[in-house]
C-alpha cells in the first residue's frame, strides 16, 4: 500500500485546501469518465488525459486574477476545468455535439472560451508558445497588468519556436509565464532520450529569463511559485519560466501501448506522489476535514461528472449547416 511520507505542515487554510481537493478531484473524475466514454466509442480521434498532473493547473489558477489569460496544448481538459469552464460544455465538445464549447467543431484538442480567457487547445506541438507570448504582447500594448500562462510540455520544449518566443518575450519584457509541464515523456520518448540538457527551465538563462523548477505534484508549491512568477510579470519583470515536475498516469493518448515505462514506475508515482492524496492527507492529518466530509465532496463531484457525461451524450450533433459557418467573421 501507500508509502507516502506524512506531509509537512502547511499554512493553507481549510477552505483553500478543500477548494484544491475539489478542483483536482473534478479533473481526475472528469478524465476518468472521458476515458470511459472514449472506450465506448462516444469520443473519437485523439483524447489526451491529464490524470496525474492536476496540481499544476489548480495551483497556478489559484495564483491568477480575473483578466489573466491561459493557453495550452492538446492535453487541455484540466486547464479548462481549472479556469472555470463548464464540465458539460467540455464533455459535449469531446463527444462532438452542439452543446460543446466549439459547437462540436473543435474536439478534444481545440477548445476555447473567450469568457474565461482560455485561448486553446492547440494541436501543433509548441505552436501555442509564441501565441501565448502574443497574448501577453497585446496586454503590454494595451497597458493593463494581465499575465498569460503559456503551458507546454517537455516535448514541445525542443521545438525551435519556443526559443524564438523566449527571445522576443524577454526583448519586449512580455508578461508571460512559460509553464513547462514536464511529465517526463514526450509521447513515448523520455526527457533523457531527447536532450543532454534535461533541466528545461535553465534554458531560459540563455535569453536572460528567470525561472525555477517546481514540485508539480504539490499544489501548494505550485501556487507559491505561481504567485512569485505572477508578481514579477505584473511588475513589468516578465517573462518567467516555471518547470513543473509532474507525471501523467495514463498513456500519451488513449492509443498508447505503454511500452516505454514500467508499471512499477507509474504505480510508485501514484502511491508516493499523488497530488490529490497529498491534499487529502493534509486535510485529514491536520484535522481540517473528516473522511465523511471528503466522501461528501467525492459524491458531489461524481454527480457533476455524471451530469456532464449525460449532457454530452444527449446533446444533439451539430446541424449540417454548421459545416459552413464560422469560416469567416
Amino acid at each position: 500500500m501507500a508509502t507516502r511520507k506524512s506531509p509537512e505542515q502547511s499554512n493553507a487554510s481549510k477552505e483553500e485546501l478543500v477548494r484544491y481537493y475539489r478542483e483536482m478531484l473534478l479533473i481526475r473524475r472528469f478524465e476518468e469518465k472521458a476515458g470511459q466514454l472514449y472506450g465506448m466509442g462516444l469520443i473519437g480521434g485523439f483524447c489526451h488525459l491529464y490524470i496525474g498532473q492536476e496540481a499544476v493547473v489548480v495551483g497556478l489558477e489559484a495564483a491568477a486574477k480575473e483578466g489573466d489569460k491561459r493557453i495550452t496544448s492538446y492535453r487541455d481538459h484540466g486547464h479548462m476545468l481549472a479556469c472555470g469552464m463548464d464540465a458539460k460544455g467540455v464533455m459535449a465538445e469531446l463527444t462532438g455535439r452542439e452543446g460543446g464549447y466549439s459547437k462540436g467543431k473543435g474536439g478534444s484538442m481545440h477548445m476555447f472560451s473567450k469568457e474565461k480567457h482560455f485561448y486553446g487547445g492547440h494541436g501543433i506541438v509548441g505552436a501555442q508558445v509564441p501565441l501565448g507570448a502574443g497574448l501577453a504582447f497585446a496586454d503590454r500594448y494595451l497597458g493593463n497588468d494581465n499575465v498569460t500562462f503559456t503551458y507546454f510540455g517537455d516535448g514541445a520544449a525542443n521545438q525551435g519556436q519556443v526559443y524564438e518566443a523566449y527571445n522576443m518575450a524577454k526583448l519586449w519584457s512580455l508578461p508571460v509565464i512559460f509553464v513547462i509541464e514536464n511529465n517526463q515523456y514526450a509521447m513515448g520518448t523520455s526527457v533523457k532520450r531527447s536532450t543532454k540538457s534535461p533541466s528545461l527551465w535553465e534554458r531560459g538563462a540563455a535569453y536572460g529569463i528567470k525561472g525555477e523548477s517546481v514540485d508539480g505534484m504539490d499544489v501548494l508549491a505550485v501556487k507559491a511559485a505561481g504567485e512569485k512568477a505572477v508578481a514579477a510579470c505584473r511588475a513589468g519583470q516578465g517573462p518567467y519560466i516555471l518547470e513543473m515536475m509532474t507525471y501523467r498516469y495514463r498513456g500519451h493518448s488513449m492509443s498508447d501501448p505503454a511500452k516505454y515505462r514500467t508499471r512499477e514506475e507509474v504505480q510508485r508515482m501514484r502511491d508516493e506522489k499523488d497530488a490529490i492524496e497529498h491534499v487529502r492527507d493534509l486535510l485529514i492529518q491536520g484535522n481540517l476535514a473528516t473522511d465523511d466530509d471528503l466522501k461528501a465532496i467525492d459524491k458531489e463531484i461524481k454527480a457533476v461528472v455524471n451530469e456532464a457525461a449525460d449532457f454530452a451524450k444527449e446533446s444533439p450533433e451539430p446541424a449540417l449547416e454548421e459545416l459552413w459557418t464560422d469560416i469567416y467573421a
Binding site: 486553446g120 502574443g134 494595451l142
Partner: protein
C-alpha cells in the same frame, strides 16, 4: 450496483481486439485506475485500466479470445454482498447512444457551381459600381507610396493597428514600404523584430487573439514558409475550431513572386498556395490604387488576410484617387479593358503581360477583354463567367507554377458554369514547372512572357 466492464475502443479506428491477458482474477478488489487486462489491437498491445471500483465478480471473456467486438461486456464488477449473476441489464450498445446521423445532403445539381463556398466566392450580387465616383481628382503615385499611405491612414484611425516585421522601423523598411512610419507612430506601433519569422508570426497571431490588429511584414513571402504553420493552423482555422468565438484580424503582407536574378529560394509565387485555405482571404493587387484601397480593406477585415505584393511593381506609378477614405471591397474584379474576342484573366504582376498582350493583339485585330481578379479568396467568378459568355474564349495568366494553379481552378469553374459558351479550351499561362534559375536568359524563359500570352490568345481564336 454491479457494473459491467465493456471491451474498450483503444484507438480511433479500433472495432475489435484480442483479450490477450487478464491481470485480475475473480474475487480481486479493483481500484479505479488499476490495470486489469492487456488488450491487443491491430497496432499494439495496450493496457486497459478500470474506471470503476469494485470486486471482480466475473470474467466474461476468457483470455486469449480474439475478435472481441468493442462494447462487448468482458467482466462484471460487484459491490460488497452482491453476486455477479445479478447483472442482467442489457448492455447499451454504441448504436443506441449515438444520435442518428443526419441525412446527407442530396447531390448537387450540375448547374450549381461546385466551387461555391463561403470563402471562395462572393455572396450576394456582384458589385458593379465604379471604384471611385466619376470626376474624382487623381494623383500619380507609386505602389510603394500607396501601400505606405494605406498603413499610415489606418494606423491613424485605429490605435489597435500596429506594424511588425524585420527592418520595418529604424531601417525604414527593407523595400521602404514603411518609410517614415516609425517617426510618426513610434516604436510601440512600429516594431522591429529579430529574424525569426516563425516566432513573430505566432506572436502576432496571439496579439490578434488578444484584441490587436497586427500588420505583419514579411521581408518576402519566401521567408513566410518558416511561419506557414502559424498562418494556416493558428490564424486561419481558429475561428472555425472555436465555434465562432475567437477571430484573428491580421494582415500578413510583403513582396511575393519573382524579383530579378535572386534564384530559386527567393523567387516564388504563393498565390495558389494560400488561395486554397478556407479561413484566409488572399489579395494580390496590380495597380497603386488597388494596393491602397485593398490594403485598407485588409487592415479593417476581421479575418486573416494574405496580401501579396510584388517587388517589381513597387516602383511603378499609377493614378490613385484623392479621397478621404478610399477602400476597395474584396471579391470585386476590375475590367481593365473591354473586348469581344477573348477574355484574359490575370492578377498581380501577371497583369503586366496581360495588358501588353492585349495591346499587341489589338494591332492584329483581336479584341481582348482583360480582367484583374485583384482578390483570389474570395474570387469574383461572376465577372469572369459573364465575360466568357460574351467572348467564348478564355486564357489565364499568372507567374506561379502550372500544377494546381489559379488558372486551373478558373478553367474548371468555367467548364462547370459556361461549358456551352466555350468555343475553345481554356488555356493556362503560368510560370514554367521548374525552380527559378539564376542565369538571366534562363530566368526570362522560366517566367511567363507576353509573347506566350499573345500566342495563346491567337490559338484560342484559331488565328
Amino acid at each position: 450496483m454491479a457494473t459491467q466492464v465493456l471491451m474498450p475502443a483503444l484507438s480511433p479506428t479500433m472495432e475489435e481486439g484480442t483479450l490477450a491477458k487478464w491481470l485480475v482474477k475473480e474475487g480481486d478488489e479493483g481500484k479505479s485506475g488499476q490495470i486489469i487486462a492487456e488488450i491487443e489491437t491491430d497496432k499494439a498491445t495496450m493496457e486497459f485500466e478500470a474506471v470503476d471500483e469494485g470486486t471482480v465478480g466475473k470474467l466474461l471473456v476468457a483470455e486469449g479470445t480474439a475478435g472481441v467486438k468493442v462494447n462487448t461486456p468482458i467482466a462484471v464488477l460487484v459491490e460488497e454482498g452482491e453476486s455477479a449473476d445479478e447483472v442482467q441489464a442489457p448492455v447499451p450498445t454504441q448504436k443506441e447512444k449515438q444520435p442518428e446521423p443526419a441525412e446527407a445532403s442530396e447531390g448537387k445539381a450540375v448547374d450549381e457551381p461546385l466551387v461555391s463556398s463561403p470563402g471562395a466566392s462572393v455572396p450576394g450580387k456582384r458589385d458593379r459600381s465604379p471604384d471611385w465616383p466619376e470626376g474624382t481628382q487623381m494623383k500619380s503615385m507609386t505602389v510603394r507610396e500607396a501601400l505606405r499611405e494605406a498603413m499610415a491612414e489606418e494606423m491613424r484611425g485605429d490605435e489597435h493597428v500596429f506594424l511588425m516585421g524585420e527592418e520595418v522601423g529604424e531601417y525604414q523598411g527593407a523595400y521602404k514600404i514603411s518609410q517614415g512610419l516609425l517617426d510618426e507612430f513610434g516604436d510601440r506601433r512600429v516594431v522591429d523584430t529579430p529574424i525569426t519569422e516563425h516566432g513573430f508570426a505566432g506572436i502576432a497571431v496571439g496579439a490578434a487573439f488578444g484584441g490587436l490588429r497586427p500588420i505583419v511584414e514579411f521581408m518576402t513571402f519566401n521567408f513566410a514558409m518558416q511561419a506557414i504553420d502559424q498562418i494556416i493552423n493558428s490564424a486561419a482555422k481558429t475561428l472555425y475550431m472555436s465555434g465562432g468565438q475567437m477571430g484573428c484580424p491580421i494582415v500578413f503582407r510583403g513582396p511575393n513572386g519573382a524579383a530579378a536574378r535572386v534564384g530559386a529560394q527567393h523567387s516564388q509565387d504563393y498565390a495558389a498556395w494560400y488561395a486554397q485555405i478556407p479561413g484566409l482571404k488572399v489579395v494580390m493587387p496590380y495597380s497603386a490604387a488597388d494596393a491602397k484601397g485593398l490594403l485598407k480593406s485588409a487592415i479593417r477585415d476581421p479575418n486573416p488576410v494574405i496580401f501579396l505584393e510584388n517587388e517589381i511593381l513597387y516602383g511603378r506609378s499609377f493614378d490613385v484617387p484623392v479621397m478621404d477614405d478610399f477602400t476597395i471591397p474584396f471579391g470585386k474584379a476590375r475590367i481593365w479593358r473591354e473586348g469581344t474576342d477573348v477574355t484574359i484573366v490575370s492578377f498581380g504582376i501577371g497583369m503586366t503581360y496581360a495588358l501588353e498582350a492585349a495591346d499587341k493583339l489589338a494591332d492584329e485585330g483581336i479584341s481582348a477583354e482583360v480582367i484583374d481578379l485583384r482578390t483570389l479568396r474570395p474570387i469574383d467568378y461572376d465577372t469572369v463567367i459573364e465575360s466568357v459568355k460574351k467572348t467564348n474564349r478564355c486564357i489565364t495568366v499568372e507567374e506561379g507554377w502550372p500544377v494546381g494553379s489559379i488558372g486551373n481552378h478558373l478553367a474548371a469553374t468555367i467548364m462547370q458554369q459556361a461549358f456551352d459558351w466555350l468555343d475553345a479550351p481554356v488555356l493556362n499561362l503560368t510560370g514554367k514547372d521548374v525552380p527559378m534559375p539564376y542565369a538571366a536568359n534562363l530566368e526570362k524563359h522560366a517566367l511567363v512572357t507576353t509573347a506566350e500570352v499573345v500566342e495563346a490568345a491567337k490559338s484560342v481564336c484559331y488565328r
